[in-house]
């Protein structure tokens, strides 16, 4: 094996050891684990319940049937659940790592700081949201009488992974802003609140909001554009193909922002 290969293997070993250690820590608080599981399931079912409640008096939404909307909501829930496994540290990055000075320790380890931040508070219970999402998608596919082949399901898997990564990249970019502005809360909360925007048919929004959700905070690509393609709807379905490319572009941007931030980092000196 050449030297680069050795280095990679070594890094991988360290990752695995750190990850296993962190999982042990998380699993040792069984009460927290169960509470997180319950709350996640409850939250997922609550947002689903809201969509169902909303459709009771209205019938359909601008030409969209309830099950069509549910398909998109389900896709988005699957992505969100995957993202939520690593989201804690991104939301609390400024507070936990910059202000409280934990980032010094991260810098000492010979592996990527970004990967460490993502993995350091890995949550398993939040995958409940992904599980609920799978159920929702399966249910609406049956209800809509869609006859999907393996190809469509593979596209669903790709969509869900890209969507989760897109969330990770967007919130990594926002977290990296904490290197430049010290603040406990950060600028992620309003962007977090934009997530539900991406779950509704984009054409109901005026063009500035559509453009925002397509190119600036690209949550439209998480579930809506791929969903329209899966449902065989005309119009913006073509944008579904762009979803992996947008994810890649935001990945590069996030890596760049992170690097820029780390270079800027000065310890609190504590």
């Amino acid at each position: 094996m050449n030297r680069n290969g050795c280095k990679l293997m070594r890094a991988l070993k360290i990752y695995l050891a750190l990850f296993a250690q962190m999982l042990k820590v998380r699993l040792s608080y069984r009460g927290d684990f169960i509470a997180d599981l319950f709350a996640t399931a409850f939250g997922g079912l609550a947002s689903l319940f809201f969509v169902l409640l909303f459709f009771v008096p209205i019938g359909d939404l601008a030409g969209w049937k309830k099950d069509e909307i549910l398909l998109i909501v389900g896709l988005s829930m699957m992505s969100y659940g995957l993202f939520a496994t690593v989201s804690w540290n991104l939301f609390e990055f400024g507070d936990r790592y910059i202000i409280e000075g934990r980032f010094d320790r991260v810098l000492l380890r010979p592996i990527s700081t970004w990967a460490q931040i993502l993995c350091d508070q890995f949550r398993i219970p939040v995958l409940a949201e992904t599980v609920i999402g799978v159920g929702v998608v399966a249910h609406s596919v049956t209800n809509l009488g869609l006859d999907w082949s393996a190809l469509e399901w593979a596209f669903v898997a790709l969509t869900v992974v890209c969507g989760a990564l897109l969330y990770v990249f967007v919130f990594s970019i926002l977290a990296s802003a904490s290197f430049h502005f010290e603040d406990r809360v950060g600028i992620a909360p309003p962007v977090f609140n934009v997530i539900p925007f991406g779950r509704w048919p984009q054409e109901i929004f005026p063009w500035p909001i559509q453009a925002l959700l397509r190119w600036v905070i690209p949550f439209g690509f998480v579930a809506y554009y791929p969903g329209t393609a899966l449902l065989g709807r005309t119009g913006l379905a073509g944008l579904a193909i762009a979803a992996p490319l947008v994810t890649l572009a935001f990945g590069l941007l996030a890596a760049f922002c992170w690097r820029l931030g780390v270079r800027k980092y000065e310890s609190t000196g504590s």
Partner: protein, 284 residues
């Protein structure tokens, strides 16, 4: 409660102004908070516009026209910007780090200080959140004014009562920290529960009958549905006892809120007394 204790008003005023000044310290949270509320109202505004798109002008859904439902949604979020608080989180932190013991050594009641603090935070939120958020939302969206000055005054009073009700609900959630230690899960569940059952996301009038019936027995509807209905001057198609007459609605709405304040205050006092008796703080 001992009446002499309850009259330590200057002491409570200290908690009121203390919380007010604490809020001033967070600038980013302030700006991002305002943007968040704009995002909420914008989403639901376009959602409801889409719902009414293919319907005849003036069409109604469960007694709401488009203008009314837009007003309802906007007012509900504007009101929330004033009554929202994190009493549960703050209490849980005090239980976890043991500083709750200080509350026992004070000559004033914990419940009183928490409510006074929440009202102080409420005044801050009203001046610096609700007014600018309200101004922006009124400029951007077609929000109808209340039917009369009386309704406007009753609405403000009703929001203050919402604040007290939510504070007590949060107080109860915070008390869960005694048996549970970590109440993050409970707080999240409460958050989802209140979002839906208070009528914040959807007027209770639009719920299916069974859920309307259930809601009428819970305190949550007194948090959002009552003040917003007072502003609108109607709770049509909704819970019968709220009344259809605009003036009667005010009386009924405020009475329901006052009853919940009393019931929850008693419940909180009872639970706190029990919790305090079993309290053991290590190290001290």
């Amino acid at each position: 409660m001992n009446p002499v204790r309850a009259l330590h008003l200057p002491a409570y005023a200290g908690f009121f102004s203390g919380q007010f000044r604490k809020m001033l310290a967070y600038r980013t949270r302030y700006v991002t908070g305002i943007i968040s509320y704009l995002v909420y109202v914008t989403t639901y505004y376009y959602l409801w516009r889409a719902v009414f798109l293919h319907r005849a002008p003036g069409a109604q859904i469960a007694g709401f026209t488009l203008d009314q439902i837009v007003t309802y949604v906007a007012i509900s979020w504007i009101a929330r910007s004033a009554y929202f608080n994190n009493v549960d989180r703050e209490l849980a932190e005090q239980v976890q780090n043991g500083s709750i013991a200080v509350a026992l050594s004070r000559p004033v009641s914990l419940q009183g200080t928490v409510v006074a603090g929440a009202l102080g935070e409420g005044l801050f939120r009203f001046c610096f959140f609700t007014l600018p958020i309200g101004a922006v939302i009124f400029l951007l969206f077609p929000v109808a004014p209340p039917p009369s000055l009386l309704h406007a005054i009753a609405f403000v009073l009703s929001c203050a009562l919402s604040q007290v009700i939510l504070t007590h609900v949060n107080f109860l959630v915070g008390m869960c920290a005694f048996p549970l230690k970590n109440i993050d899960g409970v707080m999240r569940m409460k958050h989802y529960l209140i979002e839906i059952l208070s009528g914040l996301l959807l007027p209770i009038s639009l719920f299916p009958d069974w859920l309307q019936a259930l809601s009428s027995w819970l305190p949550f509807q007194a948090i959002a549905f009552v003040p917003s209905s007072i502003w609108l001057g109607h709770a049509r198609g909704g819970i019968g006892w709220l009344g259809d007459d605009p003036t009667q609605l005010i009386v009924h709405g405020l009475a329901v809120q006052a009853a919940w304040v009393a019931a929850l205050a008693l419940l909180c006092a009872f639970i706190w007394r029990r919790a305090a008796r079993s309290l053991s703080v290590q190290g001290g």
